[in-house]
C-alpha cells in the first residue's frame, strides 16, 4: 500500500461546538490507482484528503504513507515527507503568481534540491506532456483556468511523487476543459503509472475513476472498483 488511513476520526472544535468531520474511517490505496472520493459538501472528503496528504493530523487513528506513521512527525518532517512523496492539485489551481509556468513546475523539484539542468529538462518534458510546451514562460495570470490547472498537474507529477492528491480539480473548469484535464490525468495514470486520488462531486470525475469511494457524514458508505475501461 502507498497510503493508508486506519480507523481515522477527525473532530473540529469551533467555539466549544464539536464537529465530527470523519468518523472511524479506514481506507488503503495501492500503486497505480485512479481513485475518487465522492460525496456531497460536508461529507468529509477534503478532510480525508488533507489527512492523507499530511496537511493535517487525525484526532484519533493512524495515517501511514509508504509505511511511515505520520502522527509522530514534526511540522518540518511532514513538510519533508510531502516534498518527497506527494503531489498536490488544488481546486483553485494555486500556482505561485510571481513564477512562470516553467518555474512553477520546477518549484517542488527545486525544493528537493534537483539540479537546474535536470529540473529544467523534466519541467519542459511534463509541460509538453500536458500540451503546454510553448507556454513555459507565461505567468499564471496570463493563462486560462484550464491551462493553469494543467500547469498544476505538471507541477504535481514533475517531482515524481508516490501519489497525486487532487482536491476537486475540475470544480472551476467548464465541462470541455474538465474532460480534457481528466483525459490527461488518465493518460498519465495509464502510461506513466502515476497514482491519483481525487476528492470530487463532479460526475465526470466519478465516471472516469476506476475506484469510487463514497462518503457521507464522515463515514465511508461505498467503495466500488470498476472494470478497466478499454480507452
Amino acid at each position: 500500500m502507498i497510503i493508508e488511513a486506519i480507523d481515522v476520526t477527525k473532530v473540529y472544535e469551533t467555539r466549544g461546538v464539536e464537529t465530527r468531520a470523519l468518523d472511524d474511517v479506514s481506507l488503503a490505496l495501492g500503486k497505480g490507482e485512479f481513485t475518487a472520493l465522492a460525496g456531497p459538501s460536508g461529507s468529509g472528503k477534503t478532510t480525508l484528503l488533507n489527512l492523507l496528504g499530511a496537511l493535517d493530523t487525525p484526532t484519533s487513528g493512524k495515517i501511514q504513507l509508504d509505511g511511515v506513521e505520520l502522527s509522530d512527525l514534526s511540522a518540518s518532517a511532514l513538510s519533508a515527507l510531502r516534498l518527497r512523496k506527494l503531489g498536490f492539485v488544488f481546486q483553485a489551481y494555486n500556482l505561485i503568481p510571481v513564477l512562470s509556468a516553467r518555474e512553477n513546475v520546477e518549484f517542488v523539484m527545486e525544493l528537493q534540491g534537483i539540479s537546474l539542468k535536470e529540473r529544467r529538462k523534466r519541467a519542459d518534458e511534463v509541460l509538453e506532456r500536458v500540451e503546454l510546451g510553448g507556454l513555459g514562460d507565461k505567468r499564471p495570470l496570463e493563462m486560462s483556468g484550464g491551462q493553469q490547472q494543467r500547469v498544476a498537474v505538471a507541477r504535481a507529477i514533475a517531482s515524481r511523487p508516490s501519489i497525486v492528491l487532487a482536491d476537486e480539480p475540475t470544480a472551476n473548469l467548464d465541462s470541455g476543459t474538465a474532460q480534457r484535464l481528466l483525459d490527461l490525468m488518465l493518460q498519465l495514470n495509464r502510461e506513466d503509472g502515476v497514482t491519483f486520488l481525487f476528492s470530487t462531486h463532479d460526475p465526470l470525475v466519478m465516471d472516469s475513476a476506476r475506484r469510487l469511494v463514497r462518503l457521507r457524514d464522515g463515514k465511508i458508505i461505498g467503495d466500488e472498483t470498476k472494470a478497466p475501461s478499454s480507452t
Binding site: 519533508a80 516534498l83 494555486n94 510571481v98 518549484f107 525544493l111
Partner: protein, 417 residues
C-alpha cells in the same frame, strides 16, 4: 539565486505602490539620518577646532598644577628636552610654546586686568588662529626684537582701554622673582575673537618679550599641541607621556586633552548628540514600523499562497527565511537609494561653511564663543552605523511577520482567501 530569495525579490515588486511607499520612507529616514549625523559631526568638529585653536590645542603640556593655579611658579624647564620629546612624537600636527600670566594693562587713566600670552609667532600661527583674527594692524612679527615690545589686543579690551594702533600700553604685573614687572608695549594690532570673554581679556606679546617681562629665563608655562584631529587627542597624550617619561618624573609635568581642559565643551556636544539621537531613534523606529506594516500586510494578503507553498513542501524555516529576506530587501533597497542620495550630497557639503544669522547665531557666539556656521563632515562611521542601525531595526521588524508566517498551519492557510 535560491528559490527563497527569488520569491522574496519578486514578491517585493508584487505591489509596486506599497513597496515604493515603504522604500521611500526608508530612503527619507536614511537621508535624514546621514545628513543629520553629518551635520552634527561637522558642527562638533568645528566647535572643537575653533575652541582648541583659541586655547591650548588638543593637548596641553604644563608644569604640574599650572592649570589650576595659573601662576608662574609651575613652570616647564625650557632646555631642549621637551622640544626634543615633542619632535620625536608621532601624530603631532603642530605645537607652540607659551608664557602665560596675568597683568594689569593701562593706558592713560584706564586700566584693565588681562591675560598676557607670550607666543612664538611663527609656531603660534600653526597652532592657533589668533593671527587670522587680527582686524586692525598686524600680528606679531616672527623675528621680533624682544626690545620692540609689541602687543596685539583683543578688540573689546582695546575698546575698553581706548587704545589705538601705535599707542603704548603699560603692562604691570608680578615677575617670577616676585618683583614688580612693568613695561610699555606698542599696540600693533587688535583681534576680533568669537569668544567675547577672550576678546575682553587677551593681550598677546612675543614670547621673548614675555620672558623678559616676567623674568622667566629658561622657562615656559605651557606648550599647546595640535593632534591630527580631535579624536586622536587621547592617543597623542599617551604618546607624549611615553616620550616625556624618559626625561621627566611623572609629577613634574601635566598633560591634558582639550576634553579635560574644557569639560563644558564636551558636555555641550554630548547634550547636542543626545537630542539628535533621540530624534533619529524615533525616525528609525517609524521606519521599522513601516517595514513591519508592509510585510504584515503582504503576508496577510498572501496567507493562502503561503499555505500552498507549505503544502507543497517548503519547510517552515525556509518560509521564515523567505519573509525575512523580503523584509531585508525592502530595507536594503531604501538603504541603497538613501545612501546614494545622501552620501554624494554630504560629500559635496563637506568643507562648505554655511553662515547662520539671526538671534540664534548671535546667541551661539555669545554663549559658546564659537562661529555661528553650519558645517558638514562625512565620517566613515556615519554610513556604516546608519546602515547597521537601519538593518538592525528592519531585522527586528521582520521577526514578527516571519515567525507568524512560518507558524501557519497549511490547512488553515489554504482555507483563507
Amino acid at each position: 539565486m535560491g528559490i527563497e530569495t527569488r520569491l522574496a525579490w519578486r514578491n517585493v515588486w508584487r505591489n509596486p505602490r506599497r513597496t515604493a511607499l515603504s522604500v521611500a520612507a526608508t530612503v527619507f529616514a536614511v537621508f535624514l539620518v546621514i545628513l543629520t549625523v553629518g551635520m552634527a559631526s561637522g558642527v562638533h568638529e568645528k566647535i572643537i577646532e575653533d575652541a582648541v585653536r583659541l586655547a591650548s590645542g588638543h593637548v596641553a603640556l604644563s608644569g604640574r598644577g599650572y592649570r589650576h593655579s595659573m601662576t608662574l611658579e609651575q613652570f616647564l624647564p625650557w632646555d631642549g628636552r621637551i622640544e626634543q620629546a615633542i619632535e620625536n612624537t608621532a601624530g603631532v600636527r603642530a605645537w607652540a610654546p607659551r608664557i602665560s600670566s596675568f597683568a594689569l594693562i593701562s593706558i592713560k587713566d584706564r586700566s584693565q586686568g588681562g591675560m598676557v600670552i607670550g607666543v612664538s609667532p611663527e609656531q603660534e600661527r600653526n597652532v592657533t588662529t589668533f593671527a587670522e583674527k587680527v582686524v586692525t594692524g598686524r600680528f606679531l612679527k616672527s623675528q621680533a626684537n624682544p626690545a620692540a615690545h609689541e602687543v596685539v589686543l583683543g578688540r573689546r579690551l582695546a575698546d575698553r582701554l581706548g587704545a589705538k594702533l601705535g599707542d603704548e600700553v603699560l603692562l604691570y604685573g608680578v615677575a617670577y622673582s616676585l618683583e614688580t614687572a612693568y613695561a610699555l608695549f606698542e599696540v600693533v594690532g587688535t583681534m576680533a575673537l568669537p569668544d567675547p570673554r577672550l576678546e575682553k581679556n587677551l593681550a598677546i606679546v612675543h614670547i621673548d618679550a614675555a620672558r623678559d617681562f616676567y623674568v622667566y629665563e629658561n622657562r615656559i608655562t605651557e606648550v599647546a599641541i595640535l593632534a591630527e584631529n580631535a579624536d586622536a587627542s587621547v592617543a597623542l597624550l599617551a604618546e607624549l607621556e611615553r616620550a616625556l617619561a624618559t626625561s621627566f618624573a611623572e609629577d613634574e609635568l601635566e598633560l591634558e586633552t582639550y576634553a579635560q581642559m574644557m569639560p563644558e565643551l564636551v558636555q555641550l556636544i554630548l547634550i547636542d548628540d543626545a537630542g539628535m539621537y533621540i530624534t533619529l531613534t524615533i525616525l528609525v523606529v517609524v521606519v521599522g514600523f513601516g517595514i513591519l506594516n508592509t510585510i504584515l500586510m503582504a503576508i496577510l494578503e498572501r496567507a493562502h499562497e503561503l499555505g500552498v507553498v507549505l503544502a507543497l513542501g517548503l519547510k517552515p524555516m525556509a518560509l521564515f527565511r523567505m519573509i525575512y529576506v523580503e523584509s531585508m530587501l525592502l530595507a536594503g533597497l531604501g538603504l541603497v537609494i538613501g545612501l546614494s542620495l545622501a552620501l554624494p550630497l554630504l560629500a559635496w557639503l563637506q568643507g562648505i561653511e554655511i553662515p547662520l544669522t539671526g538671534d540664534a547665531a548671535k546667541g551661539t557666539t555669545e554663549l559658546f564663543g564659537m562661529q555661528a556656521v553650519m558645517t558638514f563632515k562625512l565620517e566613515p562611521s556615519n554610513p556604516i552605523l546608519s546602515t547597521l542601525t537601519i538593518l538592525f531595526v528592519a531585522a527586528l521588524a521582520a521577526l514578527y511577520p516571519a515567525i507568524k508566517a512560518s507558524r501557519a498551519h497549511p490547512v488553515d492557510a489554504l482555507r483563507s482567501l
